[in-house]
């Protein structure tokens, strides 16, 4: 079992990181920590994807020196997917940070539970 985990080290680490990330995202009450958790979770998936595309001993798929056979290069698609994913997570982090700034200006706290209570109080 341990041997298996060690052989797939990147995937193991990725899954552990994903677990850490989503625990933080769901359980922390501080908004900034939630956003950090989200980023850890996304990064874990990118590690997972990137490690699948990497074949040890091969080079990045950029044709130089006229080497054109496929066996010389790693799979470029996961890298492309990771790049797309990074763009998505950057934009989401931006939106969430903007929301956090607005909430902080309004309620002077970052604790989501306190904010929810304060917002409920506005009704009365």
């Amino acid at each position: 079992m341990l041997q298996l985990l060690y052989e797939n080290l990147e995937q193991t680490v990725a899954v552990i990181l994903f677990g850490i990330g989503f625990t933080i995202l769901l359980l922390q009450r501080n908004l900034i920590r939630k956003i950090i958790g989200l980023n850890i979770m996304d990064t874990a998936i990118y590690l997972f994807l990137a490690s699948m595309g990497y074949i040890s001993g091969r080079k990045a798929p950029i044709v130089v020196d006229g080497v054109t056979e496929v066996s010389a290069y790693i799979n470029p698609i996961p890298a492309g997917l990771v790049l797309t994913g990074i763009v998505v997570s950057v934009s989401f982090t931006g939106i969430l940070l903007a929301l956090t700034v607005r909430l902080y200006r309004r309620y002077n706290t970052l604790d989501i539970d306190v904010i929810a209570l304060l917002a409920k109080g506005e009704d009365a």
Binding site: T84, I95, A119
Partner: protein, 498 residues
Amino acid sequence: MSLVHNFPFFSILLCMVAGIFSSMLKKEAAKWVTLSVSLGVLVLSAFTLHLTLGLDDNYPFMMGHVPAPWGNEIRIGRLEALMATGVSAVLFLSLIAGFYHAPAFVSEQKTNLYCIMVDLALAAVLVLIYTNDLFTVYVFIEIMTIASCALVVVRQNGHTLVAITRYMIMHLFGSGLLLLGIAMLYGITGHLLMEPLGIAVRQLVLTGQYNGPLTVVIALITAGLAIKSAMFPFHGWAPDTYAFAPPLSSAILSGIISKAYIFVMIKFFYRVVGMELIISQQVHQFLFICGVAGMIIASVLAISQRDIRRMIAYSSVAQIGYVYMGLGMGNTAGVEAAVFQMLVHATVKSVLFLSTYELINVSGDRKRFRYLHGAGYRNVPAGIVFTFAAMSMVGIPFTGGFIVKLNLAISGMAFGGWVRALVLIALAMSTLLNAVYFLHTVVSIYRRPTQELVYPAVDPMPRYAAAAMLASLLLIVYLGVGSEPILQVIETGLKTFS
């Protein structure tokens, strides 16, 4: 290949181009552009539907210059065309009925942004309906999430901020699960396009390889999409978001956007993993139980609400439960009923949110039931529309809701034992509970106000808005009376869907 074959692609492109131009136009012009885009998409989709009805099978459309196994493609069949037509028709009517009260919620400078986001949301929904590539699904789900976030948060008060923060956290969690599922699926099959994926998955099932990872993939993707479409135990974000968003946004979010996720799920089940694998892994039973639980528990929660918009939001969760119950039966008749329910719910819920706004508006912007007494007299068209939409929710004959319940019951009868019992009990209880809270609302809007409350005079609703709502009403009745051809399209569409 005729010109009409290109129409799905044109409709997607039209939305995106309109979004870009809306940022540069004047405020009123942007509104007109958005409105005409939704009409344009409706016309294009109707042509596509007409075309696909004449074809025996769905057809692929190459996106870009690289052919299928490497390049990206969309795939168009009659089911996709039907969904696109339904969605754009609902959006068009909602925009006519709802755009005029946007200034009450959207500040002057943000109007263009609002129009862009409506265009973007429609583009994302269309892509999710037509696409044949799993990674495109992920990207456009994220685009749709951003667009819906902007549609809600454009109303600047504390409630929407808190609601949208919850919404974003749950949705990003769902996207994370979805992306991990797609990454693992790519890892074990090496494909992202749905047809080669489907072949590879069947191969894996035959050889018995990667059984564990495949189960995890199905669980991750199903859970991710279920969270995003507000399936019952994951519905926590939905009530506040729908209740505090601008009414037009609530109509778009609960009517149209939540359906796109479920459509993607059906596509994943049919085209990628195959319904047989879903049934042998018993994923459908999980959806079935959640659907039944949602139908009953969300209805009970709806009864306990004192705010009319929260009540309708909870009823939305209950109605999504119907879809999942149909999907969870696992037979074709159940899935057909689920798809039909998606169309009915899109029409009914959007017009319910919009007519509720009118009723609240004539009651001095107060949402509690006791202030709504007599609202049906103060705004007669909205009262009539609300009453009829509520009747469809309850499932009175000659409305769309009745056909849904009938079809769900018939497809439940195909089973024996506890599934049949559960379907019938759930339908009966949910109808009863729906009747309790919708009839209570209808009675309260037609009751004379007891104490002499002063209702400030408001401008009457514009004629075109009333006309659009009545048109939605006709659509609901049409879905109830003329459902046969639509059900036939769904049935034949599902056969060629995979």
